[in-house]
Every structure is written in structure tokens, then in C-alpha cells.
């Protein structure tokens, strides 16, 4: 379990993480979601004691990371795929990590096998692709067989097979009862992996709820109705207890699917020109939620002229 209490980090006048409190529970995958620059990596670095919070605190299983006697056996972390010396082999990188935390050396080959790097274990990591580096980082995170796993943008640079592998791995780790904390700026990826979402923007928590709740709250769907008999149709639908909103020339109806809405209008003997189920995507929901908190927003091409 990871517990942050009023965690704050400022760099000069810029506040990267702003009074953030959350709990990451064991036994499920918690997605840490936010646009680039939202404060995800800074938060994760504070979890690992690499950056010192300006105020507030964060603990792992009840104690500060720095107070852990053998931290790799308690928390496994992938922070950046490239936190490696390019001249060192994959096996040597894992060897010194293992030795530093009293982890048996047999475990090195186990995790190499687990991430599928056995055949290139003796190669210098400078030659690795981004995806291979990412796999090595995950191997390092799993080295101590830790009950808490922290992965910062683990699918970056992975091919589709690798992405699916990370997804399955994260779910398996959670199913074993571990605490799994995965950051991403990709909403769709998180929707498929995470049981719980912690959404952050400009250093503040925007949402902390189950993925299912997030989807039903934010990715609303409605039925678009176009009709020449605008007011009559709206009246009929409202009479049946539906939520009807007029947007320009169309009606947006919530509460029933398209077929049921069509039947109601048909029974009333009214005309329909269009009947469409519109589902706003999770990506849209995420964009809407974080719209005000995107640090580097590009101006749409058309708007510049």
C-alpha cells in the first residue's frame, strides 16, 4: 500500500505536485493518469525517496521508503527505461542490484527469463531498443519479488505484443495481492489495465475512483435525434421520463438506447430524420477532465490564422 498525505513539491515558483493525498491499495492495478507534466513522475520519485517533498509525506506499507532495510524487496520500480549505463550488460546491471539488496543471484536469471531477455543478457544495454530497455527495467523492478510494484510509463516504446504483455503482467501481479501502481498518459491503455484510476493534472488530483465509475461518470453516451417536429418529439420523450437536451437543430436524449427512442417517437406518429447512438470516448472524457491542466497545449492549426 502506498499512502500520500498532502504531498507537495515545488521547484522555485512552479508547483509540480500540489497538496496531493491518495492511497494505492493492494490487490488491484491503480492507474496513475495525467497529461505530460502533470506531476506523475515527480510523485513517483517522491514515493521512492529520490526527490524530497517540499511538504507532506508519502509512505510505502506504513514507512518511508528510505527507512526500508532492503527496499528492492519491498518496492520494485521502473522509473525510466534509460536509467542504465549503456556500457554494462543486462545481466551485470541486475547482478549489482541483486547484490545490493541481498537477493540471491539465481533470481537474476529468473527475471531475465520472465521478461524474455535471456538470450541478450550478456549484451551491453546501449545496443538495446527502447522496448528491450523497458523490459530490463521491469526485470529490475521484479528482482526483489516485491509486494509493491511501481511502473512509470511502462508501455512507452513497446510494440503491441509488449504492451499486452505489460498489461497481463500488471494484472497478474495485482491478482497475487500486490500493490501495482502504473502511470500513463494514455487513457485507453489505462482503461484496459487499471481497476482503479488516479487522475492528476497540474499537480492536483482530479479523480480518484474505480475505472468503471470513471467511465460511467465521464464517458457519457446519448442518442442524437434529428426531426422536423422538434418540440413535439421533445415533449413525447420527456413525458416518458427521458433527459432531453436541445443542441442547435438536434436533440440529445439520455436514458434509453437508439431503438427504444425510435419506437417511442414512432408510436407517437412523429417523423425522424436521424437517430444515432453517440458515445464520447474515454479519451474525450480524459481530455475534457484535464483540459484546464495541460501544461503545453498546442493551438489547433486552424486557429493560428
Amino acid at each position: 500500500m502506498i499512502t500520500a498525505h498532502r504531498l507537495t513539491k515545488t521547484y522555485g515558483r512552479r508547483t509540480a505536485v500540489d497538496n496531493v493525498s491518495f492511497t494505492v491499495e493492494p490487490g488491484r492495478v491503480t492507474g496513475f493518469l495525467g497529461p505530460n507534466g502533470a506531476g506523475k513522475s515527480t510523485t513517483m520519485r517522491m514515493v521512492l525517496g529520490l526527490d524530497r517533498p517540499t511538504s507532506g509525506s508519502v509512505t510505502v506499507n506504513g514507512r518511508r521508503y528510505a527507512d526500508s532495510p532492503a527496499p528492492l524487496r519491498e518496492v520494485g520500480a521502473l522509473l525510466e527505461a534509460r536509467a542504465l549505463h549503456p556500457g554494462r550488460s543486462a545481466r551485470d546491471h541486475l547482478r549489482w542490484l541483486a547484490v545490493s539488496n541481498g537477493i540471491p543471484s539465481a533470481r537474476v536469471d529468473e527475471v531475465l527469463d520472465l521478461v524474455g531477455l535471456t538470450t541478450v543478457a550478456g549484451q551491453r544495454v546501449g545496443r538495446f531498443s527502447l522496448g528491450m530497455g523497458q523490459r530490463l527495467g521491469i526485470a529490475a523492478a521484479l528482482l526483489g519479488d516485491p509486494p509493491v510494484v511501481v511502473l512509470d510509463e511502462p508501455v512507452n516504446g513497446l510494440d503491441p505484443e509488449g504492451i499486452r504483455w505489460v498489461r497481463t503482467l500488471a494484472r497478474d501481479l495485482a491478482a497475487e495481492g500486490r500493490t501495482v501502481f502504473v502511470s500513463s498518459h494514455l487513457m485507453a491503455e489505462m482503461a484496459q489495465t487499471a481497476d482503479h484510476l488516479l487522475v492528476i493534472g497540474r499537480g492536483r488530483v482530479l479523480a480518484d475512483c474505480s475505472t468503471a465509475d470513471f467511465i460511467s461518470d465521464h464517458a457519457a453516451s446519448y442518442v442524437r435525434v434529428r426531426t422536423p417536429q422538434h418540440d413535439a418529439v421533445a415533449t413525447v420523450l420527456r413525458r416518458h421520463g427521458l433527459d432531453v437536451a436541445a443542441h442547435g437543430g438536434e436533440l440529445r436524449v439520455q436514458g434509453l438506447d437508439a431503438a427504444a427512442v425510435g419506437e417511442l417517437v414512432g408510436h407517437a406518429g412523429l417523423l425522424l430524420h436521424e437517430l444515432t447512438l453517440v458515445r464520447s470516448s474515454l479519451e474525450d472524457a480524459f481530455m475534457t477532465l484535464t483540459a484546464d491542466s495541460v501544461e503545453y497545449a498546442a493551438t489547433p492549426a486552424g486557429a493560428q490564422r
Binding site: R45, L48, P69, P71, G87, V99, N101, R107, L142
Partner: protein, 271 residues
Amino acid sequence: MTALGALSPTRTAAPAAPGFGAAVRAEWIKTWTVRSTGWSLTAMFVLGAGLTALVCALAAEDLAAGTTGEPVGAFLTWGMMFAQVTAIVLGTLAVTSEYGTGMIRATLAANPRRGTVLAAKAVVLTGTLFVAGTVTALAGYLAGNWFLDREGIGVALSDDGVLRSLYGSGLYMAGLGLFAAAVGLLVRHTAAALSIVLGLVFVVGNMVMLLPDAWGEWATKLMPGNAGGRIATPESFNPMLLDPWVGFAVFAAEIAVLLAIAAASFSRRDA
């Protein structure tokens, strides 16, 4: 591929805290699994032993004739003047390569006790440089003295200051490496740290002689390379320098102060 099978068997209940020995072994593996270590130490040996042998071979005849006015002892570890560059490089890289690659985060995640990490690094670095420096100086002495012997001006290991200059070379290399590592810890950048230390030892150390009167004399005596380097040679070309052990004590104190500042910064700053 599933995580379960491979993860469960080795699951440990209560992790015992690995001590200082584990930190040293981890740093030892890190040191010897990158090529730069081997290259730096090879360069130290080639420069240190090779140039000593070369200068002795070239100067032996003139020295025997007594026409140079230079002390013979000053030539016995002559190559170490150049070999010290490699100690500075090794010491700098021990720290800055971690910052350059982002490795420092892996290091501090594996061991969040930063004082322990720094001490382990220092032990491995100074141990390696002490042995390499002493071996290099010994090889240079043996080769150089062979040429001096032929001219009848050979120096015995038991002669005044000779043995001291050999392990003194090891001590000086270790000290320089530590000094460079401390600078690396403060500036966290390879090129910047190298420029500062090389400039201090090779440029500023000689320029201060131009200061007027006692200022120039004392600045020269106290500059790290000048104070610390005297222990690495039986006799010096420069009679102005502090006595070997006095100079080394000054050098050690300078390292201690710099290291204390670097350690305080290291324990406080974000990685």
C-alpha cells in the same frame, strides 16, 4: 507468459538489511562491469610506468655525468605526473556517469541511505586507485632504475624516500580520485567536473607560482596537486614544496572538506 510461477517461489518474508559489505560489493560490480575502468587503469599503467622508463632511459647518461643539476630521485616516478590524469578521470566518472545516464536513480532506489552509497563508492574507488597507483609506480621504478643502474646511478628500494614514493603514488592517485569524485558529486556533469579538477591541478597549480612573494610561495605549496603530489616522488624538481607527509596531510584535509560539502549536498538534493 505469466508472472505467477516465476515470482512466488523465491518470495521472502522478512528481508534482512544488507549491510555496508553489500553496498561495497554492489559498487565493486558496477566499477568492473564498464569498460572505462579497464581503459583508465591501462592508461595509468602505460603512462605511469612507460613514461618513467622512457625518461630514465633518455636522461640516464646526463644524470650520471651530473650535467643536469636535477635530482635523480625526481625521475623515478616521473610518469605519475601524467598518470594522475587517469585517476582524475576514473574518480570523476565514478560519479558523473551515474548522473549522465540516470543510473543514480537506480542506485539510490536500491540503497536510499546516501551516506552508505557514498562511503561504498569511496572505498571501491580509493582501494582500486591505491593498488593501481602503487603497482604502476613500482613497475616504473623497476624499469627506470634498470636504465639508471647501467650508468651506475641506480637507486635502491631501501634508499631514502623510494619505497614511500611508490605507495605514496598509490595514496596520491586514491586522493586525487576521491577529490575528483567529490567535485563530480557537486557539479554532476562529466565535462564540467573534469575541466575543474584538471584545471586546478595542471593549470592553476602552476599559475599561482606567479603570484608575488609569499603569496605565490604559499599558494603553490597548498594547491591540492602540489601538496599531495610530493609524496609520490622520492625527490622533487621543486624544492619549494611542503615535506611529503605534511603536504599529504594538507591534501587529505582539502579532500575531507570538499567531500564533506559534497556529501551534505548529496544527501539533501533531489536525485
